[in-house]
Amino acid sequence: MRVSKWSEKLFGTPLFEPLVSFSYLFPLLYIVVFLIIPVLAMLAIAFSHEGHFSLYWFKSILTSSYYVQFPPQGDFAIKTVTATGETVYLIRGIDFGVVINSLVVAALVTLLASLMGTIFAFIMARYEFKGKNFFRIALFIPLLVTPFVNAYVIKKMFLDTGLINYIFYELLHILPFRIKIDGLAGVVLAQAMTYYPIVYLNAYASFINIDPTLEEQAENLGSRGFHLFRTVTFPLALPGIAAGATLVFIFSLEDLAAPIVFQGDPLAKKLMSYQIFSKFLYGLGERSPEIAALSIIMLTLAVLAFLGIRKYVSLRQYAMLSKGGRWKPRVSKPKPWQAAIIYVVLLPLLLLTIFPQIGVVLLAFSKQWSVTVMPQGFTTEYVKQMLFNPDVRRYIINSLMYSGAAVVLIVLLSVTSSYATSRFKGILTPVLESLVIIPIAVPGIVVAMGYFYFFSQVFPNTPLDPTNIFSFNPAFVLILAYSIRRLPFSARSVYAGLQQVHVSLEEASMNLGASRWKTVTGILLPLISLNVFGGAMLSFVYSMSETSVGITLGSLNMQYAPITAFMKDIMMSAAGSAQLAAALGVLLITVQILSIVLVNIITKQRYAFIGLT
């Protein structure tokens, strides 16, 4: 056989090989067809005004003070006095207009999450102290995703009659007045508390990956304490921290749960994600150019943040551990003042951030939670209802099935794409590499809208057509959405696994006469099975708790709705439903803990829950 020029160019294989071409083309086409085209096609209407191509909608958004408002309006905090004579400070944040608010919130959340994540990561990586194992476990807890209920509990905590005021105002008298946090401030708080472990995990990995000799050398030259941290440790960990921070930025930008929970305050609604969501749900079936334009702006911001940081991170990814270096982690006992900070400041902070999850569990077993500090009464009714009511069970089963099916696709996609990108250097390699990771940067609500129009236009009057509400079955659309949105988690894991398997193991097999197929199935897959498994588990967990697409497209036919659509529905409807939602939250938490434990036991490694680079 002669060398095939185009095969070499595209796929990096001089002799055309079907399996390799498939590994390139399957994930490539899948992502193009089910992500790029739907999203771009839908967004295209943003460029039409009165039948012509126009930037009208962008202009009108960016010049409307509703969307962009300088100087900002409103008071950050308002002081009021109740009839009982108590002073209450209402903290809501100020209004920069929808677009800038989103940016400001995302930036603040990123900043807060980075600060907290970095501090926790640093003490965990560098200090040995009593209760460290408690910290270690507790730091995982905020990562457990319980859509809506989580933010609901946070909102409750920061009411003027909530837990925080109870502790700091009533009990400890530290606060001279009550505070109540609402509006954008509430959103920032809820998101920061939810997302900071993402930075924590990335920062922690960075800190322990710093070649200890780099710090020892500085110390050896006379540096210590904060100077050492500032000049050596922190700059070296910065790429990892930045990677985590970007994820937080994007997650904050697209988050719906917190604005929905804080919706009572008009400010909390002045966020891009909420605006798109709310208009989309109301105007179901109409193609609003204004939402499309807003979606494009949001997508652009997310993608820019993402690409920017990827560039920065890849520039500064230092090959940390050099050959021959000693691997002795720098861990020391905290000095008294450091211990004081750990126990007096960080421990309470940590407890605070895990309270939402605790609150969810309490709520699931309580009769009600209205004006009291904590939920009241004990009942197993809601948990029973969750487990035994056939309708509720159906939502659970739906979610399990969709997530399961999505994971099968995800495994196939991540194995093929990682195989192609890690083993071959065709011109399609960088394209595929970016495509596989890009879903992280596409806000879920944008995907949901894209699918809505895509499926209603490409498959009209079939069960795939979301406007065909009567017979629309969201199963297929949700599986697709999950498989795309959660692909990056698994793909990173498989890719990492492939990188650890030296190519020569495959070459040796082919060199001994084995075909490509036999080599992949007989040599490669067994070797990366743990990575595949770990990644699949991760994707599964995140599929189970996917909200954006679930609560929009998924709720169009409740018969086939996923658990998150149901949670959102009941959170906002009949009384006592917050408890049922919490019970479902407990179920999700259980699934997640089981998965993590399973992954840890089977792959014998602490799995970084979310990683970007």
Binding site: H502, L505, E507, N511, L512, S515, L527
Partner: protein
């Protein structure tokens, strides 16, 4: 056993030209070594012969059959990777049996052959271990057994010893030699270690940035290097830039600093030359008919088996090596020293860039 011919093999990777037109002829049952510095194209050549990469130009023959575009699995030239590439999820037995299973041999025949290979590499009793449970040397023997058991026409070894410590390296070297002789297969061996190449090879090709500079027996290459590069690559040697100032037939006079060496053999046209003198050919005791260089001692380094005296001749450092303590007794750093060199031991070669 096979004869391998490479005709004008060219291979580029993007911008870098890895091979600039290689011609080689490896004979039946020979242990042939490619020797050269890192990045000169040794592995590339090997991989092209194994069918893991394909040349941009040129042709490859096994005996008289052209195999240039045959895929690796059809070619029967088996490569033993530098890192052994043992499959960690298979036992020693399964690793070795892999190639036979692919050929769909009957089970008992596989068993028989694997046993034979295990015996050959002296690893009986290790069949059920996993590669991680073996030492480096044992792993290498498994890799060789895995290659040999399929009875390859050609065995390719890519720096198989570079990961081993000095002691093990010596052992493995003779092992490879022994197996090659026992089976009489053609072996192509890659290394950047000149000592290893000389110890093991029937013939050596010295490579330099994508070209073959010289092919010959170890002795030919050590004693009659054809280029400055080959000379300097074969062990520590003195390479002194100089100029031809007079010619008489193939005898010339060359000059460096203010020293003149007369009547040395040189045939090339270029006037820019290097004088190559092996340190051990420089005597510290007077010898007859020798060129005499007077300078001062820069350094005396003791190496146990031998002693090196680094002399400064003007700005030029020349190293002399002796195994006799007495020769250096009278020398001291910065003191005077005289080097005696037999004219036959002076090699003048055109200067390379």
């Amino acid at each position: 056993m096979v004869e391998v011919k490479l005709e004008n093999i060219v291979k580029t990777f993007g911008e870098t030209v890895a091979l600039k037109g290689i011609d080689l002829h490896i004979k039946h049952g020979e242990l042939f070594t490619l020797l050269g510095p890192s990045g000169c194209g040794k592995s590339t050549t090997l991989r092209i012969i194994a069918g893991l990469d394909f040349p941009d130009k040129g042709r490859i023959f096994f005996d008289d059959q052209e195999v240039t575009y045959l895929s690796s699995s059809e070619r029967g030239a088996v490569l033993v990777f530098q890192n052994y590439a043992l499959w960690p999820h298979m036992t020693v037995y399964d690793n070795i049996a892999y190639g036979l299973k692919i050929k769909k041999l009957p089970k008992d025949e596989i068993e028989k052959k694997v046993r034979w290979a295990l015996q050959l590499v002296k690893l009986e009793g290790f069949e059920d271990r996993y590669p991680t449970q073996l030492s480096g040397g044992q792993q290498q023997r498994v890799a060789i057994a895995r290659a040999i058991v399929v009875e390859p026409k050609l065995l390719l070894l890519d720096e198989p010893l570079s990961n081993l410590d000095a002691k093990l390296r010596l052992e493995m070297r003779s092992e490879i030699r022994r197996i090659q002789r026992e089976l009489g297969i053609t072996v192509l061996y890659v290394t950047h270690d000149q000592e290893e190449a000389m110890a093991i090879s029937d013939r050596i090709a010295v490579m330099n940035v994508g070209t073959v500079e010289q092919v010959g027996t170890p002795r030919e290459i050590y004693e009659k290097p054809k280029t400055e590069f080959v000379a300097s690559f074969m062990g520590k040697t003195n390479v002194i830039p100089a100029k031809v100032v007079e010619r008489e037939g193939d005898k010339v006079t060359v000059e460096f600093e203010h020293f003149r060496l007369e009547g040395v053999t040189y045939t090339d046209k270029s006037d820019k030359v290097v004088i190559v003198i092996r340190p051990e050919r420089i005597s510290l005791k007077p010898i007859e008919n020798a060129v005499k260089l007077e300078g001062k001692v820069d350094l005396i380094e003791y190496y146990g088996f031998f002693i090196e005296v680094v002399g400064m001749f003007g700005e030029t450092r020349i190293i002399a090596r002796t195994i006799s303590d007495k020769d250096v007794m009278s020398l001291k750093p910065q003191g005077p020293v005289t080097f005696y060199i037999n004219k036959d031991d002076i090699l003048v070669l055109p200067k390379q860039l």
